[in-house]
């Protein structure tokens, strides 16, 4: 209990090297990964029959469209710091039902109503998350149960059909690509523009990075988060409308695995789940990358299991790299 007698007892002598670490070029792990993936994909792609064809490129884009649109919306929400929504697929399903059941009012009215419905359902969650600081995961799990349960209750589980097939125009192709692909591109560009060039977009980054600081600075935290969720709702609604048109009918399980697929795409796009960093265009890239790999495996005849496994590993690797990159230089 004592530090012994008189002379040198608790002596501290510390010296640290004088020069700070050289701040030269450092490889960006995410960039390196992308390079590695692309380099690794090239020989596989070249040796895979019918992979490098225009038709296949089209198919990959078409397969990306539905999940991609929702993922772009989810990017904004994740950037604004509210992590993820567990209710995306239920919301898309409800929107699809609304869209088909209102077809008799005319395509544009149906479109308007269903988009509003998606925005309203999702924005309400966003407002609660933004203003009340509710935990987004708990809230959206609750919302998922509520939406799914109510949809089953009200529809009685029956399939919803359209009275009119005007919606078929949404299934048409332009220059060989389905309309949904163009919509995906537009949505991604708009989202990127909103994030980079508008006040609410910039504020999403700020709120997501440090909500406490944003609040103390008097930024409209609740409103910003609400806007992000409303945009997300719009994206889910667009996905729902396309799902409805593509399937021509809607059932309670129409949304399928949309929720997790969208989250995977956002994560592979390098958006940080803690908020404050990310990009809609990179999410688009992430969604395409997942599709490319799934397509490659499909064409090479790998099982569904292998496709899912590779997707999971890809998400894991990107998550780790994104994290390493974000903490480079500090900590």
């Amino acid at each position: 209990m004592t530090t012994t007698d008189d002379e040198p007892r608790g002596q501290v002598a510390v010296a640290m090297p004088g020069a700070p670490a050289a701040r030269g070029w450092r490889p960006d792990p995410l960039g390196v990964l992308l390079l590695v993936v692309v380099v690794a994909l090239v020989p596989v792609a070249v040796t895979t029959d019918r992979f490098l064809t225009l038709d296949n490129a089209r198919a990959i884009l078409a397969a990306t469209a539905f999940v991609g649109i929702t993922a772009v919306g989810a990017t904004l929400v994740m950037i604004a710091g509210s992590a993820v929504s567990m209710a995306a697929s239920q919301t898309a399903t409800v929107v699809a039902m609304v869209f088909l059941s209102t077809q008799d009012l005319g395509l544009s009215v149906a479109l308007l109503l269903s988009l509003l419905c998606g925005i309203a359902i999702t924005a309400v969650q966003g407002v609660v998350i933004g203003y009340w600081e509710a935990n987004p995961i708990v809230l959206t799990i609750a919302a998922g149960f509520a939406i799914g349960g109510t949809a089953t209750w009200l529809s009685g589980g029956t399939t919803v059909y359209a009275e009119d097939d005007a919606y078929d125009v949404l299934n048409s192709t332009v220059l060989g690509l389905p309309v949904a692909v163009y919509v995906l591109l537009v949505v991604a560009l708009v989202a990127e523009w909103v994030l980079r060039r508008t006040t609410p977009g910039r504020q999403m980054f700020l709120v997501g990075e440090n909500r406490g600081a944003a609040r103390a600075a008097g930024l409209p935290v609740g409103r910003v988060i609400g806007v992000a969720w409303a945009f997300f709702g719009l994206c889910i609604a667009i996905t729902g409308v396309f799902l409805a048109s593509f399937n021509t009918s809607a059932t309670v399980s129409l949304g399928g695995t949309l929720t997790l697929d969208a989250i995977a795409a956002v994560l592979v796009g390098g958006t940080a789940i803690t908020g404050g960093r990310g990009s809609a265009l990179r999410t688009l890239g992430g969604a395409v990358l997942i599709s490319v790999i799934a397509n490659l495996l499909l064409i090479r005849g790998y099982s569904t299991g292998a496709q899912i496994l590779v997707k999971g590993v890809l998400v894991l690797v990107v998550v780790v790299l994104v994290h390493l990159r974000s903490t480079r230089g500090h900590r």
């Binding site: 397969a63 389905p178 009918s249 949309l258 397509n295 499909l298």
Partner: protein
């Protein structure tokens, strides 16, 4: 008007006192499934006037269903009517029901072979449905005058007996026309969105000229194939377009056949089987000793007989 029964035995039990006052534990599919919803509605309505009390234990979650099945056994109803999601998991509850002396009527999917003898069954003729799909494809391709062709198949959840039975029937008939080759079989999990996605990629992989026919195991899986083909720029139907066939006929499928896109489908509509199972129950309770296992007659649906079956198929 019942289909072939195996005649291996008569359903014993049923005291012949009629359905009045009897209790049924109904462990069916939940209303989340449109097929289930239509079945549940028709089935309940059909038994309404008979005085049978139906205890609703339906669920679309496989685990909950098994638990509900056990619950049903403990309540010792006069009959358990079950449409099970996980055939294998239902084996133990069925054995328990047998021990407890509660009769079980299995509807839709056939029981696991190990308990085949322990239950009554009103089952869809799944092998037949697969055969019909193959017949549609062969007929369609022949009509186009093709002497060769590639076929893709998008199945329902592979782990289910329903899927396996249909594939068996399908493969059997396809074997009779070796000039047509099945080049892809993908499990798309009864998921319309996934079917569409996989179809898109298969068309890209093989090109429009690499696929002549497609089988989507249910109409809601076949229609996304049609959409995917159209979006890939492939011709659907007509003299030289893709021949697509479905199953579990739905209204959307009928409409599509009318539009000349879907070549054909087959029944297994929930209405027919609901009515037949309700009828079976009335016979059972009235002591008419229905056969232990009944098959629901299935119909092939094409443009030729569309009008006769449109009504039956348009309920879900």
């Amino acid at each position: 008007a019942c289909g072939g029964s195996d005649g291996s035995g008569k359903a014993s039990g049923g005291d012949g006192s009629g359905p009045e006052g009897k209790t049924i534990a109904f462990v069916g599919y939940g209303n989340e499934s449109p097929w289930g919803a239509a079945y549940n509605k028709t089935f309940t309505a059909a038994l309404k006037d008979s005085g049978v009390k139906i205890n609703d234990l339906t669920s679309m979650d496989a685990g909950t269903q098994i638990q509900n099945f056990n619950q049903a056994v403990s309540q010792k109803p006069d009959l358990i009517v079950a449409l099970v999601l996980d055939t294998q998991a239902a084996v133990v509850p069925i054995q328990k029901a047998k021990q407890a002396g509660v009769p079980v009527l299995l509807v839709d999917g056939r029981p696991d072979p190990s308990v085949e003898k322990d239950v009554m069954a009103v089952v869809s003729d799944n092998p037949k449905l697969g055969e019909y799909a193959a017949q549609n494809i062969i007929e369609g391709l022949k009509a186009q005058g093709r002497d060769s062709g590639n076929v893709i198949v998008l199945m329902g959840t592979k782990s289910m007996l329903v899927t396996q039975d249909r594939m068996e029937g399908f493969d059997k008939v396809m074997a009779t026309a070796p000039e047509y080759k099945v080049i892809e079989e993908q499990d798309t999990n009864w998921d319309p969105t996934l079917s569409g996605k996989v179809a898109q990629q298969l068309f890209a992989k093989h090109g429009c000229d690499g696929v002549q026919a497609a089988y989507g195991m249910a109409d809601y899986m076949a229609l996304p194939i049609v959409q995917a083909a159209k979006q890939a720029g492939c011709k659907v139907g007509g003299d030289d377009g893709l021949v697509v066939t479905g199953g579990n006929c739905f209204k959307a499928g009928i409409d599509s056949i009318r539009a000349g896109e879907l070549y054909g489908t087959a029944t297994e509509d929930p209405i027919t089987i609901a009515k037949q199972s309700a009828d079976y129950i009335e016979r059972y309770f009235s002591g008419k000793n229905p056969p232990q296992s009944e098959l629901v007659p299935e119909e092939r649906v094409t443009a030729a007989n569309l009008d006769e079956l449109a009504d039956q198929c348009s309920q879900a």
